[in-house]
Amino acid sequence: MASHRARSDGDTLVRSAGLTKIYGEVTAVRDLDLVVGRGEVYGFLGPNGAGKTTTLRMLLGLIHPTSGSAEVLGRPPGDPDGLLRVGAMVEEPAFYPYLTGRDNLRVVTRYAGLPEDGIEDALRTVELLPRADSKFKTYSQGMKQRLGIAAALLKDPDLMILDEPTNGLDPAGMVEMRTLIRRLGTGERTVLLSSHLLAEVQQICDRVGVISKGRLVFEGSVDELRGRAAVAIRAEPLDLARRRAEEVLGPDRVEVRDGELIVDADPGEVPNLNRELVLADVQVSELRPASRSLEEAFLQLTGEGGEDDEG
């Protein structure tokens, strides 16, 4: 997992307050308060149809919010000066099918008002130089994704917004893309990445925002998403063990689940608890970590039963 980085409030690159988008009867995004700091690789996690893409489009000025506000690099979404420092790939990479990859990047530089001399570097970074002069319509999905990243890199952006960048890639392509994104997210550059893949977010991201049915239901580190470290204790007699554990840690930090004690305790507290239990004539046969899996935490937060919403 990527390392955590310090973030000060003065270094906030993306901030939204009460961001809401309603389509007729459907609320796609509701009261979203999002904060992304400089240098982070921020994972925007949620099932399909949760509102991730709508949120990213609002941050880029492609979609007008129904209410609420947002700032990207201190500017309103879609502001030309702000966009000049943002590299973005939203959903499917979209380029002119009848132009080559290189010519498509030329078009992008002209729209961005950039010199063309960054094209070679961008193509090299995404390892697309050998096919740069092939038409876009002949590209595989992986190559299209990489051209999308190359286009986002042309500005040498402070912030990269990538929407499901591994979508449609085969396993090898996904590994390559994740490696590339981690590389891009080093230093001062910030990456805001949406995904519905937990493992992907765990491998790439410093911090995570979980969105479900248009609401941000969690924001924090992957460890925080999993929940505080807990310890499972197999002990006999269970009632005595529970009473003693409650005396040591307090009743709100102890529960019985599936015939085991689950205690909310830091690793440093465990030896002392074990000693107290043994001194109270409790037979302790097993002590092990009992934090939730990322999947469990995610499903609990999103209320998903394992199936994704519609698109």
Binding site: I63, L83, E92, A94, F95, P97, Y111
Partner: protein, 264 residues
């Protein structure tokens, strides 16, 4: 798109010069309605360049321009490239202004090239028939190019506006052609029978494009040997003013729509 333009040139020259010349050479058929063969040839000669070329713009040229405009605007939605453009830097109004400029240049180029090709065709016919080569004056030529540009520009903006409104090439072209070729024809067809339709007819873009062509000498469709789409419901200045108003109105409408549109 360039294939479409090529087809327009070929078909325009075929029906504007090749067919009249063949009628002249073969004596024509029973459907000439008393039009002298000499008149048919006369209209294909260089001195008649402006009416001959401008007469082809309202209907056939207009349909082609409408398709070009729809393609220029709505292809960006189909490919998804509009979002790629808009996340780079330019404002929506700037992107649209660029498209207006590109469309204006394309329609001007089509107009000028079609005039040149038509001039070549009429000169060839004049030489073949040993007729005097007499070209129209510069003012008449400029009026012809200006009128053609205005007609094609108006129709291409019509297509662009539909493309932006519906975000679909097929829908924009389909609805646009139905309007240009069917709705306006129906309204014009019933205009003599119903007062309200006669009033509506005077405000239609295609009808006024035809009136502008007629004001420059193109033979109206209700006359013997007339050109489809050429009408006499308005004089030149009136038709020009209305077409300019349509251009301004559609430019404004498409700008307002694109500014508020969610790009998905």
């Amino acid at each position: 798109m360039w294939i479409l333009v090529g087809v327009y040139f070929v078909m325009g020259l075929f029906f504007g010069y090749v067919v009249p010349y063949l009628i002249f050479k073969t004596g024509g058929g029973p459907e000439l309605e008393g039009v002298p063969l000499e008149q048919i040839l006369n209209e294909a000669l260089p001195h008649n360049l402006v009416p001959s070329v401008v007469g082809g713009f309202p209907l056939f040229g207009g349909a082609i321009a409408l398709i070009i405009g729809a393609l220029i605007a709505s292809s960006e939605y189909g490919w998804g490239t509009l979002k790629t453009i808009l996340v780079q830097r330019p404002r929506r109004v700037e992107v649209l202004a660029g498209k207006f400029l590109a469309t204006a240049l394309v329609t001007l180029a089509i107009t000028v090239v079609f005039f040149l090709l038509s001039a070549l065709a009429s000169w060839t016919i004049a030489l073949a028939e040993n007729r005097a080569v007499s070209w129209p004056g510069i003012v008449e030529l400029l009026q012809g190019v200006g009128a053609g540009w205005l007609i094609l520009g108006m129709w291409s903006l019509f297509g662009m506006t539909l493309g932006i409104l519906f975000r679909s090439t097929a829908l924009a072209i389909g609805l646009g052609l139905v309007w240009a070729l069917v709705i306006e024809s129906l309204i014009s067809g019933f205009a003599n029978l119903l007062e309200v339709l006669a009033t509506i007819q005077q405000w239609l873009p295609g009808v006024n494009a035809g009136a502008l062509a007629a004001s420059l000498g193109a033979r109206a469709q209700d006359q013997a040997g007339g050109v489809p789409g050429v009408t006499t419901v308005a004089d030149g200045p009136e038709a020009t003013a209305l077409l300019v108003a349509y251009v301004a109105g559609m430019a404004l409408l498409s700008t307002l729509v694109l500014r508020r549109q969610d790009i998905s």
